[in-house]
Amino acid sequence: MTTASLPPATGSALLVHEAGLHARPCVKLTKLAKTFSARIEIAASNEGPWIDAKSIVKVMAVKIPKDTILHVRAIGADADAAVRALVGLVETDFEGLVA
């Protein structure tokens, strides 16, 4: 981190995927996160715990159910773009955005 004082980019989206954050959406989410250099974290609550969005092992382990508001935060050069992309992915129900 360059400056600890720099506030992270944040965003949130309602998880509407029927089965919650299961294997297929997890694969898409972590794949997308890895395309950014920023450190990206997600959480099922404002207070955390915050999970590394680039680790499918960690994301799957949280077992986030449907109808959860997914919070995203990122720190780094492309943090804003990263948050926008991840929120967009969740909002579009994991359809079509990433191959």
């Binding site: 029927e18 089965a19 919650g20 299961h22 294997a23 297929r24 997890c26 694969v27 972590t30 794949k31 590394d52 680790s55 499918i56 092992v57 960690k58 799957m60 382990a61 077992k63 159910p65 449907k66 109808d67």
Partner: protein
Amino acid sequence: MSLAARTLPPSEIRGAEYRGAEYRGRAASPGKVFGPLVIVRTAETRARTAGPPAAERVALERAVALASADLAALVAAADGDAADILEFQLALAGDTALTEAAFAAIADGVAADVAWAAALDAMIADYAQADDAYFRARAADLTDLRDRVTAVLTGAAAARSSLPENAILLADDLTPSRFLALDWIGRGIALMAGSPASHVAMLARARGVPMVVRLGPLPLSDGDRLLLDGEAGRLVPAITAEEARRLAAEAEDAAEALAINSAAATRPAVTADGDPVQILINVADPAELDGVDPAICEGVGLARTELIFDGASLRTLPDEARQLYAYRALLDWAGDRPVTIRTLDAGGDKPLPGYTVANETNSFLGLRGVRLSLRHRDVFRVQLRALLQAAVNGDLRILIPMVSVPAEMAEVRALVNDVARDLQAAGIPHRVPPVGMMVEVPAAALMLERFDTDFVSIGSNDLTQYVMAASRDCAELDALSDAGNPAVLALIKSVVTQAAACDIPVSLCGDAGGDPALTAKLLDTGLRSLSMAPVAIGGVKAAVAAYPGGKP
């Protein structure tokens, strides 16, 4: 053929149950095979001498990379669900969170293969204990990845061995990538553990590979000749040459019937004199529909919901979201055709710990079906909430099992309306669909006109056992447990007549509906709608076409 309903409840599965001359498990994919057993033991880790930590680290990195490349090639060649399953493993393999525990152990002097297996085993154990069946099933994906990397490390080869003709593979469990690496035409799968809800069961159904799971430990040897019956969920050993001939013939007949059936299944069901007959399918698990062509039927006549509750206890009942997901999957498959979903039919031979009553002296005459639903209204309400919400997505109908008196249907109606009011108040989209009843209790069959029901589905299995006073479970009573008995048929005819008088649709969804030998007798009663297992459709359609017609 009532697949799930007739197999062993999970609480009873400890080891294989040896019933006379066969082992019982759970049906996972239909079809029959007779052939030699090929036993695959769980990957034995070959002893591997640990080098210095730095070398071990490189060995593991290399093995993971090789396994990933292998997976990527498989992903490229696969499609649909198979590709998704493999892609998940590929993503896991690329995650340092998975490997860091192994690398830490290696730094402490542990051999690469041992460190890797230990790291994965911890995670597999975690998944295997998850409350959610979906997460439990993912343990198999992790096992697959563990074995794939271990095989590279120990040089135990990515053994793409082929199976002998008509072989039945017996293993503790089977991983999706191992399944995809083998040619299964004419072969079958028997698993001591496993689950009908696993990825590999889904793949087996989609590719028409017969499969039985949860057989428990079996006293069998490599090369033993057996019949694998994926419809009844059983494994039958051939001891004598005579038995071998008989079982081989049974498998051949089944294969032949399957070929004829799949050809016959797509034509319309019309009697010889041009009277159309509605053909519907029975489903126990949305995953069963993977390999079924929707064109062969006019909808789902009976979707059982017991499997959604399978393995649950009162503490871990499936929530509304999980039920909604399963119901919507059925509606998605059916498109605009009707899907009749039966509410939880526990009790009798289908126990659910904490929900059904333990040790009933006569469980088939005890608390089961709607009797239990009305006793556990909190559980029933969750199911009704999910059903009313799913009803927005298609032509859903609710079917109530084991109704005996009109008051039960009146109570169900009141509950449905109450749930609809709650959903309305909460602003949740929903629709009150038609609510119908199973006719399986003679009291209901005799007095149908007095019931407030939108449609009727005759449950011929229970109706037969109650009319004949002959338990479905007693092999010695097979001659009595006959849906073709004139008394049973007379009662069915009476139900059809009463339903016509009340102008409500009537269908039949028991085993009799899928038995071509009974088709003519059922059509004689005036029935023109039958629901059955997808594999039975071809045979029944042929019997319908041969029916001379002339309404009774």
